[in-house]
Amino acid sequence: MAVERTPGGSSLIDVLDRVLDKGIVIDAYVRVSLVGIDLVTVEARVVVASIETYLKYSEAVGIGPSRSRELTSPSSSEEMDRVMAENAELKKKLESLS
């Protein structure tokens, strides 16, 4: 039997995986600041810090279940850096929420 597609919003984990730190992201500090700042009257504005789009087909390398190779292969260590940065960011976000 072939797999059936389920709508995006039907899995909370998949939703959380996306909405918390992807798309247009304002860091937690600014997010909290914004609700107290009137951008029009206060001398501050929201600007783009970085912008990335991913329009390439990334070949899957070294994403097998073993962890050891991931650290040594370059494409995966980049991935690891990204995940660690994401991790740190999420932790920060979580702290700010509690």
């Binding site: 899995s11 600041s33 994403i63 097998g64």
Partner: protein
């Protein structure tokens, strides 16, 4: 936290940015209670999709994140969206116009790149123990070592066991990579782009997102079904979407002092 006085202070929750010059009303589907009508705030040909809300910090509860996602999915049916990450509030409509003004080129550029593209999620899991059983039968080296260990039950088999463990580990990795490569090869012709996130847990061998042209949705569907049928004995697939292109857009915004 910033609710002042009577708690009547309202702000705007922002869900996503779209290209649109016409005001739009998406109905009462917004986050939170009360008047959660979802509508658009415009600057030139871009618009933010928003709803009114008391000024507050939204916790990422089930109800809240699903409301955020539901609005995005609704808007996505008729527009290309750049999704906002969860929980972004602005105080006034003018603030949002200021936001679009100062980020116009970035938003406009990304909207063009994402035009008529949607995201799909694919997670692939395997039964590790079952794969190991198969490996023990099919891989000669593993079978030989296992046999040796079984036959020498009385004497020390420490070294053989270590070797066996390493062999199984690397054979597993090879098998996983083979599956993943083949799945990617099968889906590539129907997708514009793909991204691999880190698999979660021991059972997952692939945690990927694919960006697909709207009019290739059926073709992509077919390919996912085909590859899931091919491996139905060994792997289980979790296929989700369409999603806004969360995994393919990353715009980080920060606050800057005017004049600095």
């Amino acid at each position: 936290m910033t609710e002042e006085g009577s708690g009547n202070v309202t702000g705007k929750y922002v869900y996503c940015i779209i290209k649109s010059s016409e005001p739009r009303d998406f109905g009462r589907i917004g986050i939170g209670e009360g008047d959660n009508q979802v509508y658009t705030v415009h600057h030139e040909d871009l618009a933010a999709v928003v709803s009114d809300t008391p000024i507050r910090i939204y916790d990422p509860t089930r109800e809240n994140v699903l409301a955020h996602e539901f609005v995005n999915e609704t808007v996505m049916r008729e527009r290309t969206v750049i999704p906002m990450s969860f929980g972004t509030l602005f105080r006034t409509e003018d603030d949002i116009i200021e936001l679009i003004k100062s980020t116009y080129h970035a938003f406009d550029d990304v909207l063009q790149k994402m035009e008529d593209k949607i995201e799909f999620g694919l997670k692939v899991l395997w039964d590790r123990d079952r794969v190991i059983e198969t490996l023990e039968e099919e891989n000669e080296e593993i079978a030989r070592l296992k046999d040796e260990i079984d036959r020498n039950a009385q004497s020390s088999t420490y070294f053989a066991r270590m070797q066996l463990g390493r062999l199984v580990e690397s054979a597993l990795e090879d098998a996983g990579n083979r599956y993943v490569r083949d799945i990617h090869e099968s889906l590539k012709p129907a997708a514009v782009a793909s991204r691999s996130n880190k698999p979660i847990g021991d059972r997952m061998i692939l945690n990927a997102a694919f960006l697909v042209e709207r009019d290739r949705e059926k073709a992509f569907d077919e390919r996912v079904k085909e590859v899931s049928r091919k491996y139905e004995e060994a792997l289980s697939f979790r296929y989700t979407g369409p999603w806004p292109p969360y995994n393919f857009v990353n715009i980080k915004l920060k606050l800057e002092k005017v004049g600095s």
